[in-house]
């Protein structure tokens, strides 16, 4: 088990390195003059040249990647010039490890921008996750247990309807009516727990998280319902009935334990994807999370920031994959004991 864990972590790290190469090559190769975006449209040819050298864009892409990777591990300086550092240290920009470079749009380190935005996306994702897991799984179970009844049809029909609405529409609907027109909740606004306490944090997140959750919730209702029904026709459930177990034990213990496995996989990966930012929801509610940051970075051709965000999201997905696999082993003895 330990060996398996170590192997998974190592392969995950390797995957991340490869990811960074691919992203790096893709983004930097796509634009022949990255210094143009760094320097701005009004730069003279001379300024462009200086920028190019200062940011190291004149070097081959492999060298650029090597410096980038080194920067992530030990940090780096811009420009990387020992002479300049000796003569005029005030002109050298320090970028501490893990250094992802400077955002060309904001002029600040990419890491700083991301650490500012991450708590917002993280909070949003966690609250949405809680809503959709609790709501989706329990509604899915209820629908499965009442298969074919009005309750089942209602739940399934409603989830299909909700699933069909685009997220921005649901978001605008909630924002316009619940927050603005009816004033049931104040305008959503991110308030860190450290500043306003958990209540304000939750209150500010409620509508955006609900918007985000509703879409997933609808999906999870249907998935859970299908899993419960499928498991219900398994032979071991028939055995459980033949033993004379009461229905609540059969459902609560035998069925749900089996349904847990695919749900853990799905929800782990879905959550990982959301930690990297929910682009539409954050834009609708004007939350400055990673999703909005990603959109901004792309529209501004802010390559270092884009690379940084993509790498962060890949890290989440890779880590979530590893965690899900390890959870698998906890849930399923066949994986654990081989």
């Amino acid at each position: 088990m330990v060996a398996y864990t170590i192997r998974r972590i190592l392969s995950g790290a390797l995957l991340l390195v490869v990811m960074s190469m691919v992203v790096f090559v893709l983004f930097y190769a796509s634009s022949d003059t990255p210094e143009r975006y760094a320097c701005g449209p009004k730069c003279s040819a001379q300024q462009l040249e200086v920028t190019k050298q200062a940011l190291g864009y004149d070097e081959p892409i492999t060298t650029q990647w090597a410096k980038f990777a080194k920067g992530v591990v030990v940090g780096r300086e811009f420009p990387n010039d020992p002479d300049l550092r000796a003569s005029a240290p005030e002109l050298v920009q320090e970028c501490d490890a893990p250094c992802l470079g400077f955002s060309t749009g904001y002029g600040t380190p990419v890491r700083e921008l991301m650490t500012d935005a991450f708590p917002i996306s993280f909070s949003l994702a966690i609250v949405a996750f809680a809503i959709w897991i609790i709501g989706g799984v329990s509604l899915g179970i209820v629908a499965a247990l009442n298969k074919g009844s009005i309750i089942d049809r209602g739940i399934v029909g409603l989830s299909l309807l909700v699933f069909a609405f685009p997220t921005f529409f649901i978001g605008l609907l909630l924002l316009t009516f619940v927050a603005i027109r009816w004033g049931i909740v104040p305008l959503p606004e991110y308030s860190p727990i450290a500043e306003g306490g958990p209540f304000l944090w939750l209150q500010g997140l409620f509508l955006p998280a609900l918007t985000l959750a509703v879409f997933y919730l609808a999906g999870y209702v249907r998935i859970t319902r299908a899993f419960v029904l499928e498991t219900g026709s398994e032979d071991y459930i028939r055995t459980a009935r033949a033993k004379g177990l009461p229905q609540r034990t059969i459902i609560g213990k035998h069925t749900l334990r089996a349904v847990l496995t695919p749900l853990v996989t799905l929800s782990g990966l879905d959550l990982a994807g959301l930690l990297g930012g929910a682009i539409i929801t954050e834009s609708v509610f004007n939350f400055n999370g990673l999703g909005k940051l990603a959109v901004t970075s792309i529209t501004r051709f802010d390559l270092p920031l884009t690379v940084g965000i993509v790498l962060l999201i890949s890290t989440f997905v890779i880590v979530a994959n590893i965690i899900v696999d390890l959870l698998y082993a906890v849930i399923d003895p066949r994986v654990r004991l081989g």
């Binding site: 398994e234 032979d235 071991y236 028939r238 055995t239 459980a240 009935r241 033949a242 033993k243 004379g244 177990l245 009461p246 229905q247 034990t249 035998h254 334990r257 089996a258 849930i331 399923d332 003895p333 066949r334 004991l337």
Partner: protein, 369 residues
């Protein structure tokens, strides 16, 4: 003094009746295409300590009829009618919670595929403990001791260690032993074994059958052995019920049925068994055609479209009139559902030569060429 007398009489009255009495059992499933008559008027009895074999093709209703005894159709759309009396209790009149108390305690079931019938995420021990504790108010520790005892009894080596194993760590035969241990956890008077050896390899099959026979002697349980393996029937059972299209087509003492079958479907089952000691060039004799639709069963005798002997029945009887299950030429203990006037002579002249390999092997070759 007067009060105890009726209760004292009642067990005596029950003792006169066999442990399990199934009368005119019907299990119908309404579907959008119409009514599927999976079991249509089935009657049989099983005595305490005896074994009944139910034989038939897939879809003949053998498993469905025994699931009805377990009350497994509660809460489904299935329409179950007739009567099933187990130890004097009318099973079909019980509600789900009463039925639940019967399941696993009075009547247990062993299923075909022990790997898929055991929950993959719980240890074998935990599953036996669960089966025992649901009907006995005992501590986990006591139940665990019982589980180890049972595993020991069914021949699992090192039961105190293996009790903590998961099903996937057991071999196929051991899993079926564990299933049997679970089925016997509460000393049921009735054990239904639904093709218990089909998923096992042949050497293990024999062990499992031996085990079941030993346990039956020890626990005095009645067994219903559902199978399509006539070898198992010959080895294990006292009585045999041959099912076709949801109904009994032949029913009687096993020795009778196997030596003097009177129904062409039973003949077909017998001749389709390959003879391992016979000539390898002799082709297998399958029953032509496929099982009847339970939705729109053929008119008359359900077997007539596949029956090679229907020409020997006068008139259009086979395709117009469904034969009754009635006593055949060999006495009241042997029932058959067939119009053939003299099945015994056809069996002796036509079917029996196919079963004895010496004579027909040459004839078989002739047919081949």
């Amino acid at each position: 003094m007067t009060a105890p007398s009726p209760t004292a009489h009642e067990p005596a009255a029950r003792a006169a009746e066999p442990l399990l009495v199934v009368e005119d059992l019907k299990v119908h499933f309404p579907t959008s295409d119409g009514m599927v008559k999976a079991v249509d008027g089935l009657s049989y009895t099983v005595e305490r300590g005896k074994t009944l074999g139910i034989v038939g093709e897939s879809g003949s209703g053998k498993s469905v009829s025994s699931s009805a005894i377990m009350g497994l159709f509660h809460g489904t759309s299935a329409q179950v009618s007739g009567s099933i009396r187990l130890g004097g209790t009318d099973v079909l009149s019980l509600d789900e919670s009463e039925m639940r108390k019967l399941r696993g305690r009075q009547v247990s079931m062993i299923f075909q595929d022990p790997l898929s019938s055991l929950h993959p995420y719980y240890t074998v021990g935990a599953q036996i403990v669960e089966a025992y504790r649901v009907h006995n108010d005992v501590s986990k520790k006591t139940a665990r001791k019982r589980a180890v005892e049972l595993l020991d009894r069914v021949g699992i080596p090192q039961p105190d260690v293996r009790v903590n194993d998961y099903p996937h760590q057991f071999s196929g035969g051991m899993r079926q032993r564990a299933m049997i241990a679970m089925g016997l956890a509460n000393d049921p008077s009735m054990l239904i074994a639904d093709e218990p050896t089909t998923a096992l390899d042949v050497t293990v099959q024999a062990q499992i059958l031996d085990l079941l026979q030993d346990l039956q002697r020890e626990f005095e349980s009645a067994i219903i052995m559902i199978t399509h393996d006539l070898g198992v029937v010959a080895e294990m059972t006292d009585d045999t019920l041959v099912m076709y299209g949801g109904r009994a087509v032949e029913y009687g003492a096993t020795r009778e049925i196997l030596s003097h079958p009177e129904m062409p479907y039973t003949w077909g089952l017998l001749t389709s068994v390959p003879d391992v000691t016979g000539d390898v060039d002799v082709p297998l004799v399958p029953i032509p055609g496929s099982p009847p639709s339970l939705l729109t069963p053929p008119p008359g005798c359900a077997f007539h479209p596949r029956c090679a002997y229907r020409d020997q029945v006068p008139g259009e009887l086979c395709s117009t009139l469904s034969p009754d299950l009635e006593r055949g030429g060999r006495g009241p203990g042997h029932l058959k559902r067939c119009h053939l006037p003299d099945p015994e002579s056809i069996y002796q002249s036509t079917v029996l030569p196919l079963l004895t390999h010496a004579a027909p092997s040459g004839a078989g070759e002739d047919v081949n060429r």
